[in-house]
Symmetry: C2
Subunit: 135 residues, 2 copies
Amino acid sequence: MSHIKLLKNHTLKATPQRLCILDTLQECGHATLEDVQKIISKKFPTLSLSTIYRNLNEMLQKDIVSEVKIANKKDYFELKKDKHVHLVCQNCGKIEDFEIATDDISKQIEAQTGDKVLNDTLYFDVICKDCLSAK
Amino acid sequence: MSHIKLLKNHTLKATPQRLCILDTLQECGHATLEDVQKIISKKFPTLSLSTIYRNLNEMLQKDIVSEVKIANKKDYFELKKDKHVHLVCQNCGKIEDFEIATDDISKQIEAQTGDKVLNDTLYFDVICKDCLSAK
DNA sequence: CTGGGTGCAAAGTATTTGCATGAAC
DNA sequence: GTTCATGCAAATACTTTGCACCCAG
């Protein structure tokens, strides 16, 4: 879906500023606020910091983007995607996505706790293939 | 291990302030900075905010405590524990811990990506038993 | 047109730091 | 006694807000 439609579906006007923010997230995959700021300052120098804050918050609320929180790291933003796991390379810092079925674990938790599992967020600390082979 | 020993093992002096912070985390299981602040203001009103910040940061660095980051929530602190999963109740907000073996998933990731998995952090959004039965 | 969005400057929070004093070892 | 930690106040960093102007629909 185009970013223009994406915004309109969520009752947000398709301004150049918003499109620029979405493009940036798409390019980066996962971007910290700092990343977004830095990249935008080149692509669209007049886009103000308050606009970035305001829009990221709005898009979080409307579930267009999500926040990726990793211990000992800054928070990242990403375009909302289907269920996936984050693989965080402890060497180069890169974040990869990985599709995975976690129903087994969910069932196990439900059986042992009596809770109802709705959803999950999984992070794995890894050394990525590239860093492994670089050694 | 007593908190006094815990601190000394990490070359930190066992001050009443530090012990109070550790006790607070132990009581709460998972506490936000705000929780810590609020509880401490009763138990030890002269303990200053900068001391809380300084010590939590130091203890994070020395791996005495860890940070629990959950999307759409404030960050929590907890005493460092063995590998466990966090179950976050979407209804009452409570966080439970759950012990689980995740080797299967790790192996699956390694097989499919070529990465080396070091560690993992898993969160599950749940409706806890208590909230389920309260309906 | 008109309502919502933007930029700017200012306000509001959160976090860190420098330094003199005080406590742990 | 020394060294390290604390409290306070000040500095810095981060985030939000109010308002006049502007643009997408």
